[in-house]
């Protein structure tokens, strides 16, 4: 078997093997090659390290006031510079920056090799438009909440229900 790292298609082979998507026959051939080729072995080990790092990462639970804080933040005036660097703040604050950088480079390499044509995501036509509650909307909002409360009460009570309130 030719060394996969020396051919463009071969890199895709290694990536497929690392993610468990390679067909059985090719897997057997590749495993025999890996026993002899330290370069390919290193590539596979690096990919596996990336998967393990991603597997061990757990998203933090979303706080109950997430929505409220998000809308508040959207409403705030933000300078263009702040908007530009904000996405990168967590990277600079992270202690695992070298690992993250290495993982990012490997993933990028994998994506580029696996999918040479990358179409940029379409920008959303609308962003969530959040406005502060206007005074005239307060009355409508309160009325709506009250109406739902009364509807719920009507749906609960029976004429002979001794626990019915109101």
């Amino acid at each position: 078997m030719n060394c996969p790292l020396e051919t463009h298609e071969g890199s895709a082979l290694l990536l497929a093997y690392s993610s468990g998507r390679l067909e059985a026959e090719s897997t057997v051939r590749l495993q025999r090659h890996l026993e002899a080729c330290s370069g390919c072995r290193q590539f596979v080990e690096n990919q596996s390290a990336v998967w393990r790092a991603l597997d061990s990462w757990e998203a933090p639970p979303v706080s109950t006031d997430f929505d409220r804080r998000l809308y508040q933040r959207i409403e705030q005036q933000v300078s263009w510079w702040d908007m530009l660097i904000r996405p990168f703040r967590p990277v600079f604050q992270s202690r695992s920056l070298p690992i993250a950088a290495a993982a990012g480079v490997l993933i990028m390499a994998g994506v580029l090799l696996d999918r040479p044509a990358v179409t940029p995501p379409a920008s959303p036509q609308e962003s969530a438009q959040v406005e502060a509650l206007q005074p005239d909307q307060v009355q409508h909002a309160v009325d709506e909440v009250e109406m739902l409360n009364q509807f719920n009460h009507l749906m609960r009570s029976e004429p002979a229900d001794p626990t019915s309130k109101m």
Partner: protein
């Protein structure tokens, strides 16, 4: 007072797809695990964000934000709203949670559908006392039926004899658009 209404908001809950029946917003993006047991991207449950209507925003406001909105109103109206808010704030937490869920369901509806549902909820609330119980029972029955069975019932002669045209419209619109959250005991 009001932020306590939002205690049951769980933005990362998976939501059913939005269609005629009110539901939460579109399903959250998820990345499933790769076929390799040792690999794969961890699942990410992105917070589900719907566009909140006035009622939902009201429930999410801090007392300070609410006061800022109220102080722009005429004093008499301020007083009336404060009385209403005080009454609502003293509801049991379970009732508040239920209302908060119902409001989120309403806000996920298309605007026209939302207006229709609110209009019919209001009409239901204003029914004569002697019509509330038969309407209530029938609405619960209809909401529990599959769509075909419900439509058959709504179109039946027996049903049309039992309810006025306005009542029929209320039952048709609410049973076809209210989420099951609106059923008692949920």
């Amino acid at each position: 007072m009001w932020p306590g209404w939002c205690a049951d908001q769980k933005p990362n809950k998976p939501a059913p797809p939005a269609k005629a029946r009110p539901s939460a917003a579109a399903p959250a993006n998820r990345n499933g695990r790769g076929p390799n047991p040792g690999g794969g991207v961890p699942k990410k449950n992105a917070p589900r964000i719907n566009t909140p209507g006035p009622a939902q925003r009201l429930l999410q406001m801090t007392p300070e934000e609410r006061e800022r909105a109220l102080e722009k109103l005429p004093p008499r109206q301020q007083e009336q709203i404060r009385r209403q808010l005080d009454r609502l704030d003293h509801l049991p937490q379970a009732d508040k949670d239920r209302i908060a869920r119902q409001i989120r369901g309403l806000d996920s509806l298309p605007p026209q559908q939302r207006r229709l549902v609110l209009q019919q909820l209001n009409a239901f609330r204003n029914l004569p006392d002697d019509r509330i119980q038969p309407m209530r029972r029938t609405l619960i029955q209809l909401m529990r039926m599959p769509e075909e069975q419900r439509n058959a019932r709504l179109d039946s002669d027996a049903f049309k004899k039992q309810f006025s045209p306005q009542e029929q419209e209320i039952l048709r619109d609410l049973s076809g658009n209210l989420p099951l959250d609106y059923l008692p005991g949920r």
